[in-house]
Amino acid sequence: MSSRMIGVDVGGTFTDVFVLNEAEGTASVAKVPTTRPDQSGGFLDGIGREVADLSEIAVVVHGTTAGTNALLERKGAKTGVICTEGLRDVLEMRRRDRPRTWGLRGDFEPVVDRRNRLEVPERTLADGTIRTPVDLDAVRSAARTLQEQGCEAVAILFANAYANTANEDAAVAALRGVWHNEHVSASSEILPEIREFERFSTTALNAYLQPEVSGYLGRLENALKAGGFDGEFMIVQSNGGVMAVDTACRLPVRTALSGPAAGVIAAGYIAQSAGFDNIITGDMGGTSFDVSLIAEGQSMLSPQTSIDFGMVVRNPMIEITTIGAGGGSIAWVDKGGLLNIGPESAGSNPGPVAYGLGNDRPTVTDANIVLGRIDPDNPIGGKLERLDVEAARAAIDAHVGAPLGLSTVDAAEAILKVANSRMAGAIRLVSIERGFDPKRFAFMPFGGGGALHSGAMLAEVGIARAIVPRYPGVTSAMGCVIADMRQDFVQTINSLVGTLDEAVLGAFMQDHADQGMALLDAARTNFEARELSFELDMAYIGQTHTVSVPLKVTAQDGRITPPTRAEIETAFDAAYEQTFGRLLKGGVRRILNLRSAVTGKRPKFDLGTLGPSEGGSDKRIGHRQVHFGDKWHETAIYDRLTLPVGTVITGPAILTQPDTTVLIEPDLQGRVDRFGNTIIEPQEATT
């Protein structure tokens, strides 16, 4: 019986596999080393450890970094561009920015070499008028040149194609007739939105990723099928939804933040199950601390991101704010006597000084080790035998203690204090920028190191409690199993509300809904529900930045009733006032873009199946000295996964599990909820 759902997250070090057996209501987890350069080895090995017969699997959902890595390491395909006469350099000219504000250093090469960017006669004006019809002979000739030059993928980038797709449509048809593979991307298909650099960049990066990502996903799919798998294979997108594997092969640019997005989705579900609708997640890795916000159960989406300088991807993505304060971030004192953390990082290799792999500058993890918060004899991850505490102490003395005149322990505390303050700053900024009060949120750490710092986040930000998921190390893999299927669409409208043709808007909305529903229909997955959502990007005329205006739209039997102009005006006023606090008297309202999303809600599983089993033990398994504030405390150590539901552990305490250390500071307590999460909060007088 094919009743298993599998989530696979391939990270830099480990490939995590989360297996849910729906029939039996059980789940299991496997962690195997990631294989390089071809990640499919680890992928299949991980699944194979938990499931002998692949025909028992109904769904495999994959959170992948294949796209991200290909972009960061510049390992995509040789790509060609066919563009409007006069505009071959848009990709290289960017929006006339620079890598860093100060110093004026650095250069930039786009992923498409100038030799492979060819111009053809064609021009559409901003109002959609075709000024010059596209010269199709020139398109075919350019295609031949690009083929001769060895291009494996091609992108069509025409000016104002968002306003009228006719020239691009004709060029794509001609090009597909002569191109030697299916890797053809057109800007109006990928992102029919005004702003040529953002549209061209997204389209060119899509083309650049197509051969690589579709090759990788194809290998995985074939290997799964060869093992007897006959279920649905799906990929997590940056927006936190999943898509069918063939959609991912066509739109690989939408996987740019696939892995981290799955983690946030899981965090949201875990929190909601545990009764928290408002959470801020904090994923602490080797080089960075990634923060994301979920309000009323909804994760925040940002419209675009830069994968690297000049490499802009414009697609809705789960908003993840990254600061350079990870476990491997280096602590140093500047010439002005100020203690700094990062941005330089020792990462996970060579890693902290205590790893003994060659780094001699102290990191945040070294401070945690020196203060007894990490067990030097049982390092998590299992790669090393033990940690070199003395080396960590010496490094902290030399680089922080001596210049600041502090003892080893005070210097280590200082490192944590400054690192925590930076992390708290990121949490504050993420919530405040969105107009939320962080005190209303719970903090959810995940990744290996976050749970060491949750107490500090409570103290620094004034957050009431932290919720540490039962398996913080496999959140992304779990998120793959939880995520809904979702497709996003955009279309630039560029019209004043007063002169809007409601029928034109309605036709775009209908088209988006039809396309999205067709994708849901094609999926061999059951959906509990289907949702349509529509937003308009709007502003007053003359204003640059838009506000998102959600539309209340009714759909009956698949037919959409578009909003009236009056309804749009009312919705805009409400959204604008909420964002800026005041309306502009006499301002003329303008619609820039329509954004639509079609979501198929996948059935959820009961997280209780992952909770602590009957029996278990709340006895301590050991103790050691841990430094908090200004003194050492005798601190009890517990085996986290055996603690029964309802156990309350009073701080100071440390809960250990194979891939995470949970720290409960002296004035806090940790309570095990029925899902096995640990809720960290101030000690109550009654307990």
């Binding site: 505009l87 000219m93 920015d97 504000t101 104002n160 005004i194 204090k417 964002t579 606090g581 005041r582």
Partner: protein, 564 residues
């Protein structure tokens, strides 16, 4: 005054920077005009209650404001001292560039921040408004001979008294701009940013107490000073000179000299601009506050890790000769200040290059190229397309220069072509890199750009250009070569023409179907061209960034053997 431990100081430094960053973000989001919203031509910070010195400034605002904002605050401090009526809830507003630096387009709001009934510090917001009256839409008037022809002049006045906005001031402002709605939107945004700053300061002081914050601010100044001194100690002692020229002032066709003598001795430095040209008739003069601020911007490019804090300037003397165009007197026009300060930065870099060539990059393209095209729609509604254009950055010891970058005094991005075409009746025939514009070198400069813009408006339009580097090219360093100069052409019935003053012209009448063509300079090269790797030259040729002829001439024929 209490002292402060270094750890709390680290924490507070981050917290206060965040307040200024949040003020920046608030204005960028709310502003109406794209010069603020997209190009981030704005800035916010905290300033000393007595001296007006910069204490903390946002990281995302325009670099030039990092030094100049304290002069705006000082101007308000003086005004308040004269009038003797400073109160909690007051907000001052002004754009007078002779008092506050930069140019009249920059509207400055300064708000005293009180704690427990006592003045604690000032908060300030500055943003570049789209239009503030004057002879030319957008205020880049290359023919202005005094400030009155440039824009409406507002000295520091109270926009709000004890929290009550004075509507009269707003009415005056809105009557003196071609774009009142844009101005009102920007003003609202700036007021919002100041409100937010007050709220965040309240929270910070609630948490830490005013003694701790005062001590932290004091300590941050000492730290900034210590950092600067330590950097200077690492450089060799000596005196180095450099000079460069502006094409002209837009009125009199004669070059204007900017000269520097850079002197470093132990942990002190002097930037002496003696020998620079006298005050001129046209708008490339700059007021003293701008000059001092520019020295700071140049220094921060040489030492990027320095904080935005007045303490940095304590070991530095800036000598500006009286009567020079770097210390212009009211009512001399200053609208084109960007060109002059870019040249100042160039000479500072050229001087540093002699002391420590690895510390600086070669000259960037060196002109803001403020190009506006204005017309009227069929219904009589006026429009003004106003933008700055990019060019190449200088080569460095590590890499070639960046192609098509923004100006060193700015972090502004360029508006998308499609946004401009959707908003104005124009079409870009070309938006491309400019081959053969980079200065040659072991690491060549970045290349500049070509923008060719055709007027679509049926009854035509008028173009205005305020540029530079039409006669003096951006320089290389450490043996690197000069880049190509700025070049501007406009189409008339009898063919293409160029401006008599090279890079400045107003009122160019264009019919529908006629175009202007702006070709911007590249950046200067780093190191001798003979040191450039043959395969790097071959790649440039294959990519069409350097022509084969130019490559032969500049680098010799070796590249042909590895031609791609």
């Amino acid at each position: 005054m209490s002292t402060i431990d270094p750890i709390t100081l680290s924490v507070l430094a981050g917290r206060m920077e965040q307040i200024a960053d949040e003020m920046d973000a608030t204005l960028f989001r709310a502003a109406f005009n794209p010069i603020i919203a997209e190009a981030h031509d704005a800035s916010h910070g905290l300033y000393h209650a007595v001296s007006g010195d910069t204490l903390v400034q946002g990281k995302s605002g325009l670099p030039i404001f990092v030094g100049v904002m304290s002069f705006a605050v000082k101007a308000v401090i003086e005004k308040a001292a004269r009038d003797g009526d400073l109160e909690d809830g007051d907000i001052y507003i002004f754009n007078d560039a002779h008092i506050g630096g930069t140019h009249l387009s920059d509207m400055r709001l300064v708000r005293p921040y009180y704690r427990d009934g006592k003045l604690f510090c000032y908060l300030a917001s500055v943003g570049h408004w789209h239009d503030v009256g004057g002879a030319v839409p957008g205020n880049y008037n290359p023919a202005a001979t005094d400030v009155f022809q440039e824009a409406f002049n507002l000295p520091p006045v109270k926009l709000a008294r004890k929290g009550e906005i004075n509507q009269d001031i707003i009415d005056i402002l809105l009557r003196n701009t071609r774009l009142p709605q844009s101005a009102m939107g920007d003003l609202n945004g700036q007021l919002g940013a100041l409100d937010l700053g007050v709220k965040r300061m309240d929270e910070l002081l609630d948490e830490y107490g005013s003694d701790t914050i005062t001590a932290a601010l004091e300590a941050l100044g000492h730290r900034a000073e210590a950092l600067m001194r330590s950097e200077l100690t690492e450089l060799p002692d000596g005196r180095w000179e450099a000079e460069d020229f502006l094409d002209n002032d837009g009125i009199v066709d004669a070059p204007l000299k900017i000269k520097i003598a850079l002197e470093i001795k132990d942990d002190r430095m002097t930037l002496d601009f003696t020998g620079s040209s006298p005050q001129c008739a046209g708008p490339v003069n700059i007021a003293l506050p701008t000059t001092v601020a520019t020295a700071y911007v140049a220094i921060k490019h040489v030492f990027p890790a320095l904080p935005a804090n007045a303490g940095v300037m304590r070991p530095i003397d800036v000598i500006v000769p009286e009567g020079s165009l770097l210390a212009a007197q009211f009512p001399a026009p200053t609208g084109g200040y960007t060109e002059t300060i870019l040249r100042m930065i160039d000479v500072v870099f050229s001087a540093f290059a002699q002391a420590a060539p690895d510390r600086v990059v070669a000259n960037a393209y060196g002109t803001i190229n403020a190009l506006s095209i204005a017309g009227k729609r069929k219904n009589g509604q006026p429009w003004v397309m106003f933008s700055f254009y990019g060019g190449g950055h200088g080569g460095s010891s590590e890499t070639d220069g960046l192609n098509h970058g923004n100006a060193p005094i700015s972090t502004a991005t360029i508006p998308p072509m499609e946004i401009l075409e959707a908003a104005y009746s124009v079409m870009f025939r070309k938006w491309a890199l400019r081959p053969d514009s980079a200065g040659a070198g072991a690491h060549r400069g970045g290349v500049g750009a070509i923008y060719e813009i055709e007027v679509l408006e049926e009854n035509g339009a008028e173009a205005f250009l305020f540029g530079e580097r039409g006669r003096f090219a951006p320089k290389g360093i450490a043996g690197g070569s000069e880049a190509a100069m700025n070049s501007f052409h406009f189409e008339q019935d009898d063919g293409w023409h160029s401006p008599p003053l090279a890079s400045k012209m107003r009122g160019i009448r264009l019919k529908a179907g006629q175009a202007v063509r702006l070709e911007t300079p590249g950046g200067g090269g780093y190191g001798p061209a003979s040191d450039r790797a043959a395969d790097a030259v071959a790649k440039d040729v294959a990519r069409g960034l350097v022509s084969a002829d130019e490559a032969d001439k500049t680098y010799g024929p070796a590249w042909r053997e590895v031609a791609q």
